[in-house]
């Protein structure tokens, strides 16, 4: 039986990798993947704690997160394609339209 701590640790590591990837990488697709990693890190926590507490609400919430993540990925990819068509790049630091 794997103890709860390991699961929480795994979730935290995955979330941290996601945050780091989002902040460090400049490729938009990688940033989108990083967001997925963050969401999945949260999902691991939710599922493991749901099992530990014998409460199904956490697992139900996870289904919502997964469906939201799917929608987000679809929209995100669409935005990236539009960006690439206009700017011929997938690197965020080359797109600075919002610079004040």
């Amino acid at each position: 039986m794997v103890p709860l701590n390991w699961y929480i640790l795994l979730g935290t590591v995955v979330f941290t990798i996601g945050v780091t990837g989002f902040l460090m990488r400049r490729n938009v697709i990688i940033m989108l993947i990083s967001i997925e990693l963050m969401l999945n890190g949260v999902n691991i926590n939710l599922v493991s704690l749901s099992h530990y507490l014998q409460d199904l609400r956490g697992q139900i919430l996870t289904f919502f997160v997964i469906s939201v993540a799917a929608a987000e990925a679809a929209i995100g990819l669409a935005i990236i394609i539009a960006l690439f068509r206009n700017k011929a790049t997938a690197h965020v630091d080359e797109v600075q339209e919002m610079k004040g």
Partner: protein, 638 residues
């Protein structure tokens, strides 16, 4: 039919609206039809109104509530009594003739429609001024005529001197009007109303009350009267605010005739006469009115002697005559003052229009370069001669009766200043015919002193100008016959007619004295003509020699006692200096512009710092967001 009198002011107003809206595009050189027909209409209604008033029908009614603000209630209302009726005849009667004359004088001017529009607007305001039944309508008319005067003096605004003269007139009058406005406010504070009738009814109850101003106890009635008189001093060009009137001659000549002789400048006299219940109660104010009037009268008369600009001579003559009217009012002889206002309207308008006819022929104003015009302009000559005789007070003409009435009232009144004022005005009675005839002799007699080219163009003016001259000449001859004094077998009708409004002055004197005074002033007047004839007809070398031997006096008077220079150095220069050095350099440049430019500049500077946050790099936003979340979590967990 009862409100038919409303046509009197509103016909000219309609003419103004029509001319100003359609003048440039549709009416153009037919603008005089609109204005002339409407003012003649006003004149006809004025005559009907006069007949009504003679039959004892006094109108005093409010038409429309203008302002309601708690206790401050003012309405637009009209009061038509004997005084107003006389003024209506002067304004619309003389006005009609001047309008017709203008059609000839201004023919071909590029601002033709504008000229007639302003002229009509002026008449509207003047009529409101005389017809109002409260002080605010009076004030409306008062400021309105001032505005139109500004428009018309500066009518040829491309000329620097004309636009300067317009400004000078407007600004000088503003000094007086400030006092006038304070007077009106004080009347409201004292009586709680601005309508003439209740104010004049209650004024006796206020007599003797004092008001505390900066620690001084000032008699309330005196203060009100003097403040009102300040307005009259400005508008009627009395000392010390007389300086604008001579300069106002930059306007077209018919404007000078209408505004600066017959009507607007007499508004001050009208107002003093209208407010006679207030003035009667204050001896100080009466003395001030009489003395300022008399001093101005003599002062202006002496300046007129040495002027060479034909219109300026008449302008100073106007100031002099206005002073005479004030002198009469100042001793309580309001009816004599209004009588003179009425006859003066005719002969002074005639003098101006005749001068305009001369200027129309020679194209300049300098009488030293005229002469001998009698041959070329017989009608102008005869009419101007009648005007000068009338102005000079030659027996039988209009000016004689009114001037004699004034001089006799001054002599016989019990006023403390009466005798002094009488002496001053008797001296004026010498100067008036003197300068009038100097002008006539230099203009119409002798040889023409201009160039051959100019001589070639001399001609009589067209009938549209000479017919008004002749009609006015009839007025200058006969307008005074309504006021022939009883000792000459007349009925002194005008004095009796005006008595219900203006009261009757207490005159102490015998018939013998009255004849004596009349004889004296007539002799003086005739001697003025004779001396003028000697100096300017027979021994024409004498004036120059006299000027040389009395060069000091000559120079002072010729330069108008240096009043303009005095004002230039004491008022105009410091005002400009303050405007330039303080208002413009400090208040405007530093304070106003400092605020106006400083606020956006500091906002810009602050924004410049803030905008650096917006790098446009997505990761920066993300880091800030992450840091924010960490911060909030830290805050919650603390």
């Amino acid at each position: 039919m009862t409100k038919i009198y409303l046509l009197i002011p509103f016909l000219p107003l309609a003419a103004f609206v029509i001319n100003i809206l359609f003048g440039r595009t549709l009416i153009r050189d037919k603008a005089h039809w609109v204005s002339c027909l409407t003012i003649i209409g006003s004149f006809v209604v004025s005559v009907i109104t006069l007949i009504d008033v003679i039959n004892g029908k006094i109108i005093n009614e409010d038409l429309y509530t203008w302002i309601v603000s708690e206790k401050f209630i003012v309405s637009v209302g009209f009061l038509i009594d004997q005084l107003t009726a006389v003024m209506l005849i002067v304004v619309t009667g003389v006005g009609s003739l001047i309008f017709i004359y203008s059609a000839g004088y201004m023919h071909g001017d590029k601002g033709y429609y504008r000229y007639f529009a302003y002229l009509s607007l002026f008449v509207f305001f003047m009529l409101m001024l005389v017809m109002g039944n409260n002080f605010l309508v009076l004030y409306l008319g008062w400021e309105g005529v001032g505005l139109c005067s500004y428009f018309l003096i500066g009518f040829w605004f491309e000329k620097k001197s004309a636009s300067d003269a317009g400004k000078k007139a407007f600004i000088t009058c503003r000094f007086g009007d400030f006092g006038f406005a304070l007077g009106v406010i004080l009347i409201f504070l004292t009586f709680g109303t601005l309508h003439y009738v209740p104010v004049f009814d209650e004024v006796k109850g206020v007599a003797g009350q004092t008001i505390n101003i900066l620690g001084w106890e000032v008699d309330l009635i005196t203060l009100i009267a003097l403040l009102l008189f300040a307005g009259a001093v400005g508008k009627s060009a009395q000392i010390p605010l007389h300086v604008w009137l001579p300069d106002a001659m930059e306007g077209p000549t018919p404007v000078s005739a209408l505004i600066h002789a017959a009507t607007m400048v007499t508004a001050g006299v009208f107002m003093v006469a209208r407010c006679n219940p207030i003035f009667n109660l204050s001896e100080v104010a009466m003395l001030t009115v009489a003395v300022i009037g008399a001093v101005t009268s003599l002062f202006a008369a002496t300046i007129a002697i040495f002027q060479n600009d034909i219109k300026r001579i008449i302008a100073y003559s106007t100031i002099s005559h206005l002073g005479m009217m004030f002198a009469a009012c100042g001793v309580g002889a309001y009816a004599a003052g209004i009588f003179h206002l009425y006859t003066h309207g005719f002969f002074k308008a005639l003098l101006f229009l005749a001068a305009g006819s001369v200027i129309h022929a020679v194209h300049h104003n300098d009488i030293q370069r005229m002469g001998g015009l009698r041959k070329y302009q017989p009608i102008t000559y005869i009419t101007m001669l009648i005007a000068a005789l009338s102005a000079g007070g030659v027996p039988g003409l209009a000016g004689f009766f009114s001037k004699d009435e004034i001089i006799w009232s001054l002599f016989a009144s019990g006023s403390p200043a009466g005798k002094l004022v009488w002496i001053l005005i008797t001296a004026v009675a010498f100067f008036t015919p003197f300068y009038s005839f100097r002008m006539i002799f230099l203009t119409f007699h002798g040889k023409f002193r201009g160039t051959h080219h100019e001589e070639h163009h001399l001609h009589e003016s067209p009938p549209v100008m000479t017919i008004p001259l002749m009609l006015l000449a009839a007025g200058a001859l006969g307008a005074g016959w309504v006021g022939i004094p009883t000792i000459l077998g007349g009925g002194a009708h005008i004095a009796h007619f005006l008595e219900p409004v203006l009261g009757h002055p207490e005159l102490h004197g015998t018939h013998a004295q009255e004849f004596g005074i009349m004889g004296l002033s007539t002799t003086i007047a005739l001697s003025g003509i004779v001396i003028a004839a000697i100096l300017y007809l027979i021994k024409t070398y004498l004036p120059l020699r006299l000027a040389q031997s009395f060069s000091g006096i000559y120079r002072i008077v010729f330069n108008k006692y240096y009043v303009d220079e005095l004002y230039h150095w004491t008022i105009v220069r410091p005002a400009l200096w303050i405007a330039d050095g303080f208002i413009e350099r400090f208040t405007d440049a530093k304070i106003i512009e400092g605020i106006v430019n400083g606020v956006p500049r500091s906002i810009g500077r602050f924004a410049g710092i803030l905008r650096k946050v917006q790098t446009g790099i997505t990761q920066h936003y993300a880091i800030i967001m992450a840091a924010g979340i960490v911060f909030i979590i830290a805050l919650v967990l603390w």
